[in-house]
Symmetry: C2
Subunit: 339 residues, 2 copies
């Protein structure tokens, strides 16, 4: 109840008339404490408003009971209308809550904040680190791994990496999407690719090339537009593709939002979906369902993946010497009216 000078274990011990060790036992839920004493200690804790000092505690336990989720993005990007991040955070949050760990969210969109986050993790503020939405060959996960800090990535890191990851099978998803387009008779299938500094962007584009070639169709670079997963970039890419030559009769967009942007542009150009152009997206976001027409898309179990991500990290923390294992989830094609 006092304002300053938070009480210590020592103070509680004095008040309860026992030793610090006993108080510590009670506070940490040890069973081997007499009921009467336990009660006296708890009363003292209550009266003094005692809360363990985390710094002192983790100095000896080497644990902080908190986990960082690092998003190498600016706040504006993280808080876009893309519901990917919230889904990740929900999944992670749920598992962390169950494990009684605190989630610490950190954005690192700039070089300076990236550095700061590194220092934060290295200084031992957290027991483990999760990465999502990584760009380029970010060295940070590897650095942390080498320092012995448990790390896991959502999405395969680009370049060699010692960090395990959880991801969806992008190739499989794209293959299914393109097969579906081909099956409905489409022969001129365009793609709007995602950012090429992210593995998801790369893989979905490579997957498109493979799938188109595998279907016996020509891979024309005029049919490739580039975006950054956002709606506006999808619209721009669609304009570009349309400007480049004959309109396609099929489109695979590497994200639902880009597909939505494309949908708008197609409408402006008087092209009917799916009659003139069949469109398939990726993510199975809520926006896909609400699109007009509702969007065929590749579903990835984001929340499930986030849970796995978390559980895998917690397991690594508990079990640092177990072999590194990554996990790749199968996607699922959700067919709606846009194709």
């Amino acid at each position: 109840m006092v304002t300053r000078e938070r009480p210590t274990l020592e103070a509680v011990a004095r008040r309860a008339g026992v030793s610090r060790a006993t108080v510590s036992r009670v506070v940490n839920g040890s069973t081997s404490v007499a009921a009467a004493i336990r009660e006296a200690v708890n009363r003292a804790v209550e009266e003094l408003g005692y809360v363990p000092n985390q710094a002192a505690r983790s100095l000896v336990t080497q644990r902080t009971e908190s986990i960082a989720l690092i998003l190498p993005e600016t706040a504006s990007r993280v808080f876009s209308d893309d519901l990917f991040f919230p889904a990740i955070i929900r999944g992670v949050g749920a598992e962390l809550e169950a494990a009684d760990k605190q989630l610490v969210l950190m954005m690192a969109g700039s070089a300076a904040s990236h550095d700061r986050v590194e220092r934060y993790a290295v200084a031992g503020h957290v027991d483990g680190v999760m990465f999502a939405s990584m760009h380029g060959a970010d060295p940070l996960p590897g650095t942390l791994v080498r320092l012995g800090i448990p790390v896991i990535c959502s999405g395969r890191p680009i370049g060699p990496s010692e960090a395990p990851y959880v991801d969806v099978d992008h190739f499989g998803g794209v293959a299914a999407a393109v097969r579906h387009l081909v099956a409905s008779g489409r022969r001129r299938i365009a793609t709007i690719a995602g950012p090429q500094d992210m593995s998801a962007g790369q893989d979905r584009l490579t997957g498109w090339r493979h799938a188109v070639r595998h279907a016996g169709l020509a891979v024309e670079e005029d049919l490739v537009g580039y975006g950054n997963f956002t709606r506006a970039s999808g619209a721009r890419a669609m304009e570009q593709i349309l400007a480049a030559g004959d309109p396609p009769d099929g489109l695979f967009a590497a994200s639902d939002l880009m597909a939505l942007g494309a949908l708008a542009v197609l409408a402006e150009h008087g092209l009917r979906v799916p009659h003139d152009v069949a469109v398939v997206g990726f993510d199975d976001s809520v926006a896909a369902m609400e699109a007009r027409p509702p969007l065929t898309t590749v579903h990835q179990p984001v929340e499930q993946m986030a849970r796995t991500l978390t559980l895998t990290l917690l397991d690594r923390i508990a079990n640092p010497d177990a072999p590194v294992t990554s996990q790749v989830y199968p996607p699922r094609l959700v067919i709606r009216e846009s194709s």
Copy 2:
């Protein structure tokens, strides 16, 4: 470079052939160290890959160099298409970066996570706490204040509170909006109110009542719809208002998103904006500018407020016994085509 067993100050001292105290001085940038020794120490630090242990450090300094931003919301809500949170985070992030502090973002949408966040703060993980988007009479800020933890709120807390806050003058903003509507001849001015468990929601509704009465118009409860700041809730509220009786000729929505929802519904009902109904929003979000027609709205300097929020908190941390001062920013009516 070794994986486990991070080096300590002691190890660096041995390697450099000096005492721990000297190493500590070098690491913390004390000037009173001979250049040669400083260099030797830095070399040792480099070679060993030494990083100070934060727990040990804050055990003695009583500081963590990090600040929490607590959002008592679920992830889904925080990551809506409302760009309010990103703006806050940008402002806070910028000032914190300048002060070389780490931002720790915590969502506390559930009772359990709310508790956890409390424990986190009380345990001394952070040097100070900022709250944004508070609902109801949340006791947490007060609790932390009483424990001597520096606290500040974005938006006036509901109920009595010892915590200082930074806010916009909601009353003034609404008054300007309503005056503007009245000046253009509107006599039947409706409102879509925000959530009534938030001071922003309450104040904007109360402000509307005052302003309407002050203009000599009748305050009809049929002209009041309720939403939760989101687009969908705005649409629902608009439907309700239209169903309740004669359509209004003016509308003040307590958020831009709700105004956008209302715009869509008005269009569906064949009502022209601004010809039949003049509409004013609140927030001056980007969505307001992109609306059709572009939305007249009350601008609040969110990013500026976030910076002030941060600076005020940092000042309280440095200066705990200074008197508590809150700050209220003036809003500004931005007139566009919707009114």
